[in-house]
Amino acid sequence: MAQHAAKGARFQAVTANRLSDGEVVYFSADNCWVESFTDADIADGAEAADALLARAMPDDFEAHVLEPYLFEVLEADNFYKPASVRETIRAAGPTVRLDLGKQAEVKAE
């Protein structure tokens, strides 16, 4: 798990795995867990990131998800993407099975 939030990262988002099926989820601006990275709330700066993680972890968070954590996000032209290979793969699915994971659902839509 070497690729969690980097120190000094400006933009960060919160991710976890859903309890019932392990699906990768992100914490949204609407205070709920969503399946797509594009719907994730993005925090700008360390304080906002801490606040985002706190919002994602109310007392009963364990009833819905496992192990929420912050990870670094990069911004270019108002478009965000995960900074690390690890989070890029979590957001899409296995790079060796493009027919599986979130990438497959996007294609099928």
Binding site: A2, Q3, S20, V85, T95, V96
Partner: protein, 550 residues
């Protein structure tokens, strides 16, 4: 093959029911994740990058057809139509939903299978030689003692919370196909000068962050005394193994820090105590009862040569190549051992679809006395095929992309799931294996290169056995980017050795070229009949390093 008795059935059924309750309590919120995690891990359920992963035990890599068919059914019903055979001779499913796992385990139990001992700090599923009972020159079928160890170790109350996980492997052949010297305990079934069968025991091997080849603890333990000896080793480890630092908790560290001599002394002392109590002396009737399960199947008597088999090779060059690479002599005249490579060019090492598993189950039932084996190199084996039937088996395999004739060659690589699936990974392993296999796709070139074992791990945990690859590749992470470190000269067989790192790591773009450089260095330097590992052992690291970092 071993069949469950009433105790086994009850044990597994009770465990599934217990887990069903635990899952229900977790989903209802009655259990926190901290409380539930150790429970799910004791039942083989991990959390990976995209989903839960379930690891199913395949004791000593042996399956009946109905069990293989069940693995296919589970892939279809509870997963995404495939499974991944691992270096522990197990199978992993990458996408099961937590709330469906109890039902899945119920179905598995109906064919005498489970996910116990596939995780946690217990004695893990015992592994062994995939050619057990089929290869000439065995002392005896290594699955007999493997099964005895399985029964002794399952839910052993004293060894449920060891300092770390514990792996035991068994071979009964001079050629070690089970990598026994890289296990916490490695056992060689052997015969002494008096003609009695017993066990040579090696202790303290392992890979991971600090790799070690096991040390021989004793030359010969008599048959009835093996469990007493193993119990002594385990007890010493359980008492003295470090619990303060998980990186230093494996028995290999204890052996290293204690010293081989002192370790032997304390084990012998403990062994003497246990032996004196006679508690763990295995009764001859029990040895006979277990042995009977592994009696050779009813082979037909047939001549050593088959004209049909010879003619089929003469008529079909692809089949002849398959025979050359994947078919091994059987101890019984008129039979062969048929290896099924799960490494098609550009494929995912160790993956098989539900349809492929069904096909293999059918072939095993019809042509291989109902048996399939899983190898630690992530391939499958039909152990008992009549020479006259090999071509028919091959034809069916070929129509399902299962007849790649590359066993032991450069494209027959071990690769762990890596960053495509694994929560602990630093880098991807599978795409690298795919690129290497595509670069060397030409089978004639592969035959010219000869035996060459490439093993790839996505992190230092070394599930992909990179330390013992002739060429080992380790994925490392540098600020969120993947790099690959190469080691040379490792071996997992009877000449087990840990590879040496060549130098700085390579980028994803450069790593396949680096492998090509190593291969051409070898082909330039090799003497007649030398394999890659022989040339490396003769000339050493320097010429390879020179060309690599030129």
């Amino acid at each position: 093959m071993y069949r469950y008795d009433e105790f086994d059935h009850k044990l597994v059924a009770d465990r599934v029911n217990q887990f069903r309750g635990q899952v229900a309590r977790r989903v209802s919120g009655a259990l926190s994740e901290d409380q539930f995690k150790p429970l799910r891990l004791m039942n083989g359920v991990y959390l990976q990058l995209h989903a839960y992963m379930l690891r199913v035990a395949i004791p000593y890599g042996t399956l009946r057809s109905e069990q293989m068919r069940m693995l296919a059914h589970i892939a279809r019903k509870y997963d995404r139509g495939y499974g991944h055979f691992t270096t522990r001779q197990n199978i992993q499913y990458n996408w099961p939903a937590l709330d469906k796992i109890p039902d899945l385990l119920d179905e598995l139990a109906s064919v005498e299978m489970h996910a116990i001992q596939t995780s946690g700090n217990c004695i893990r599923n015992v592994t062994s030689d995939q050619y057990a009972g089929a290869i000439e020159g065995e002392t005896e079928d290594p699955r007999i003692v493997s099964e005895i160890i399985r029964q002794w170790s399952t839910f052993h109350p004293e060894f449920t919370y060891l300092p770390r996980k514990f792996k035991i492997a068994v071979t009964a052949h001079k050629h070690d196909r089970a990598a026994i010297k890289l296990h916490d305990i490695g056992i060689v079934v052997k015969q002494n000068d008096a003609g009695e069968i017993g066990y040579e025991v090696h202790v303290g091997g392992g890979q991971g962050r600090t790799p070690f080849v096991a040390k021989k603890m004793t030359d010969f333990v008599p048959k009835a005394k093996l469990l007493a000896y193993l119990e002594a080793v385990m007890r010493v480890y359980n008492m003295l193994g470090r619990r303060d630092n998980s990186y230093k908790a494996r028995i290999k560290i204890l052996v290293h820090e204690t010293g081989e001599e002192e370790m032997r002394r304390v084990v012998e002392e403990e062994f003497a105590k246990i032996d004196a109590s006679n508690m763990l002396t295995v009764p001859q009737e029990e040895i006979d009862r277990i042995s009977a399960y592994f009696a050779p199947p009813a082979f037909d008597s047939a001549p050593a040569e088959s004209a049909t088999f010879a003619q089929a090779q003469a008529d079909n060059a692809d089949f002849a190549r398959f025979v050359r690479a994947n078919v091994v002599a059987h101890k019984q005249d008129g039979y062969a051992i048929v290896n099924i490579s799960l490494k098609p060019i550009g494929g995912v090492p160790g993956d098989a679809t539900d349809a492929q598993m069904d096909v293999i189950a059918d072939l095993a039932e019809r042509y291989s006395h109902d048996e399939v084996r899983v190898t630690h190199e992530q391939n499958l084996v039909l152990p008992h095929v009549k020479l006259d039937d090999v071509k028919t088996v091959y034809d069916t395999l070929a129509t399902h992309d299962l007849a790649t004739a590359n066993l032991g060659l450069i494209s027959d690589q071990i690769a762990c799931p890596g960053l495509d699936y694994c929560n602990l990974a630093n880098a991807r392993s599978i795409p690298l294996a795919q690129e290497i296999s595509e670069r060397f796709a030409d089978l004639d070139r592969q035959y010219d290169i000869g035996e060459l074992k490439i093993k790839i791990s996505g992190c230092i945990n070394a599930c992909g056995h990179h330390h013992v690859g002739h060429i080992g590749i380790l994925g490392v992470d540098k600020k969120g980017t993947e790099f690959y470190q190469i080691s040379l000269g490792g071996a997992a067989d009877e000449n087990a050795a840990i590879g040496q790192i060549t130098g700085r790591a390579f980028t994803e773009e450069d790593i396949v070229d680096a492998i090509e450089t190593l291969v051409t260095t070898y082909t330039d330097l090799r003497a007649d009949g030398e394999r890659f590992i022989d040339t490396y052992n003769r000339v050493g690291m320097a010429p390879f390093k020179e060309r690599l970092y030129d």
